[in-house]
């Protein structure tokens, strides 16, 4: 078990947003958080890397209590690609190099540059590497942000709607890279996703979040029309196309 979250409770200014969140993710596993807008998905990710401090509950990473670690130590273990990102006047290369920041002492080493180079290549960003972020398209920028989180070489990778601006091909390629990274590096990936079909293709487990609490959590068996209807409030059919499961709204 690499990530285990237990009894998380969180409120914004006294308004409860999360309660009683308990789940765990194994090495090499991809967990997809599913739920309505405003269900608390982003808030949950922010509690896992302590951008927000939950009122109650524990987060263990590799058996270490997250709240006993310094923010730099957390950043070495948890990578995060936020839902919204800002451009800015730095190059793609430097933006991804920033992912090495938690590991860098005074100056970036050869190894840091090498890691950046590999990540850029794997996400087909080589040609953009000297472009400024504020000159990229939305999808290109999103890939840079994912690249930064990968360059962080974390034990736990948190991705908030990583494919929301990507074209069809890039959606599948990026998700494939993320899944491969989970398996090869034996890390845990927790991602938020609105595209149920993409989640079905790439996630090992699914967590339904409804009104700030877990509605259901498990493998493919929880992706039933009943659960999806109950969480999203729209009736769906779950079919198989060949052996690929698909969700179709009715």
């Amino acid at each position: 078990m690499i990530l285990s979250v237990d009894g998380i409770e969180f409120s914004y200014n006294g308004r409860p947003v999360l309660r009683d969140i308990k789940f765990s993710v194994n090495r090499g596993e991809v967990l997809s958080i599913l739920g309505n807008n405003g269900a608390g998905k982003t808030t949950l990710l922010r509690c896992i890397n302590r951008i927000l401090k939950p009122k109650r509950g524990t987060v263990l990473i590799d058996g270490n209590d997250l709240f006993s670690l310094s923010s730099r130590e957390i950043a070495r273990r948890v990578g995060y690609a936020a839902q919204r990102h800002e451009g800015g006047r730095i190059t793609v290369f430097d933006a991804v190099l920033l992912g090495r920041k938690p590991h860098i002492g005074w100056e970036a080493s050869e190894k840091d540059l090498e890691i950046v180079r590999e990540v850029l290549a794997s996400l087909s960003l080589e040609d953009l590497s000297l472009r400024y972020l504020d000159e990229l398209s939305g999808g290109e920028l999103q890939r840079v942000i994912i690249a930064r989180a990968l360059a962080q070489e974390p034990r736990v990778l948190l991705l908030d709607e990583p494919t929301s601006s990507l074209d069809l091909k890039n959606q599948y390629e990026v998700m494939k890279i993320v899944k491969d990274a989970a398996e090869e590096r034996r890390i845990a990936v927790v991602l938020v996703m609105h595209d149920l079909n993409l989640a079905l293709r790439f996630a090992d487990r699914f967590l339904f979040l409804k009104d700030g609490t877990i509605y259901d959590c498990g493998g493919l068996e929880v992706m039933t029309p009943e659960n999806i209807s109950a969480v999203y409030g729209i009736s769906v059919a779950v079919e198989k196309l060949g052996d690929i499961p698909v969700v179709v709204p009715l």
Partner: protein, 357 residues
């Protein structure tokens, strides 16, 4: 992965960073050339040979005084103050996430002016002098500097404390800075209302920035403060880069954004306070230095901080040299020159937008 492409990224990147270092070195070289010109320029007509001899310790009494006590301190003061103001502006623009932030955004200048007003008007540190070229003279410059410094730090600390109460956001800091700044301006006006003409004239005279006020003692203090905080800023360059990626990203990269912001703003304000209390108010350097360099070599603070430093030094030295020579033997206040040159240059930069790499 294609090995050829990988090599290309790497070399492309090294070439790109190498170019930035080159720009910084060139700016520095330009400053040195300007410095040499500035030692030679001035109302006392000296030949380059005389200057060189004096620098080598072979000059006569008169030359020694002109070079060592007047021209060199002036050049050193301009360069160091330019570095300080520009670096402070660079860090403030990052920490407040606002390209228009400058060393006086937190009300430091207004605070310093108020301090000077207290010293000159309430404590009687200024008076009229009819013999010299300057009609007005400050009797006890140390008292005025100390009071100005205290006024500047008072605003800084008030603003930072207010911001702490409301949450250390850029908006909170800017708003607090504007509010406290105008409060101090108002207080200065009230003081002036009850002052004599002479005292008001002294205060106005003080307010114009003038590099010539600094002698070696003050220069050493400025160099010390600027040096310490330059190192501190450089040590935080990765943090500032992370802040540019947005607060959430910075936090996820392990940056304690609030602390960085409070300490950085404190450092930048302290630098400004020291410079302003010794030299008076010098505007636009803190805005122009970083803005020019950001356009030339991007927002990576590993390069932007040293680049802003040399550019700020160059700009203030150039402004002061112009102030000394343009209608010599009259020496214009350098603050007027920086504003005169700064405003159009700034507008030009705004309309031109960003240059490509």
């Amino acid at each position: 992965m294609d090995q050829g492409t990988a090599e290309n990224i790497y070399h492309g990147y090294l070439k790109y960073t190498g170019r930035k270092i080159l720009i910084i070195l060139l700016t520095f070289l330009l400053s040195v050339v300007l410095g040499v010109y500035a030692v030679n320029a001035g109302s006392a007509d000296l030949s380059p040979a005389q200057v060189l001899l004096t620098l080598l310790g072979e000059g006569d009494e008169r030359l020694n005084v002109i070079i060592w006590n007047i021209r060199l301190p002036r050049i050193a003061a301009a360069f160091i103050a330019g570095i300080g103001l520009s670096v402070a502006g660079c860090v403030m623009q990052n920490l407040l996430q606002n390209p228009l932030a400058s060393p006086s955004t937190l009300g430091v200048s207004q605070g310093a002016a108020f301090g000077a007003a207290v010293a000159i008007i309430a404590l009687g540190a200024g008076s009229l002098q009819s013999t010299s070229a300057d009609a007005v003279v400050i009797n006890s410059p140390y008292l005025v500097s100390a009071a100005a410094f205290m006024g500047a730090m008072l605003t800084t600390i008030t603003v930072l404390m207010l911001a702490r109460l409301r949450g250390v956001t850029p908006e909170a800091m800017i708003l607090a800075g504007v509010a406290v700044g105008s409060l101090f301006s108002a207080a200065t006006v009230v003081l002036q209302y009850f002052a004599s003409d002479v005292q008001v004239a002294s205060l106005v005279f003080w307010t114009f920035g003038d590099i010539g006020r600094a002698s070696w003692g003050e220069i050493k203090i400025m160099a010390f403060v600027v040096g310490i905080f330059f190192l501190y800023f450089m040590a935080n360059r990765w943090n500032y880069n992370a802040v540019d990626g947005g607060e959430e990203t910075a936090k996820s990269l392990g940056v304690n954004v609030e602390r960085i912001r409070i300490l950085g703003m404190f450092g930048a304000s302290l630098i400004t306070a020291v410079i302003v209390s010794f030299l008076g108010i010098i505007s636009f350097i803190g805005l122009l230095g970083p803005q020019i360099m950001r356009r030339l070599l991007g927002g990576d603070h590993r390069f932007l901080i040293p680049a802003s430093a040399v550019m700020g030094g160059f700009l203030l030295l150039a402004s002061d040299t112009i102030a000394r020579t343009i209608i010599a033997p009259v020496v214009l206040p350098v603050g007027a020159v920086t504003s005169f040159m700064g405003a159009p240059l700034f507008l030009y930069l705004l309309t031109r937008g960003n240059s490509r790499r």
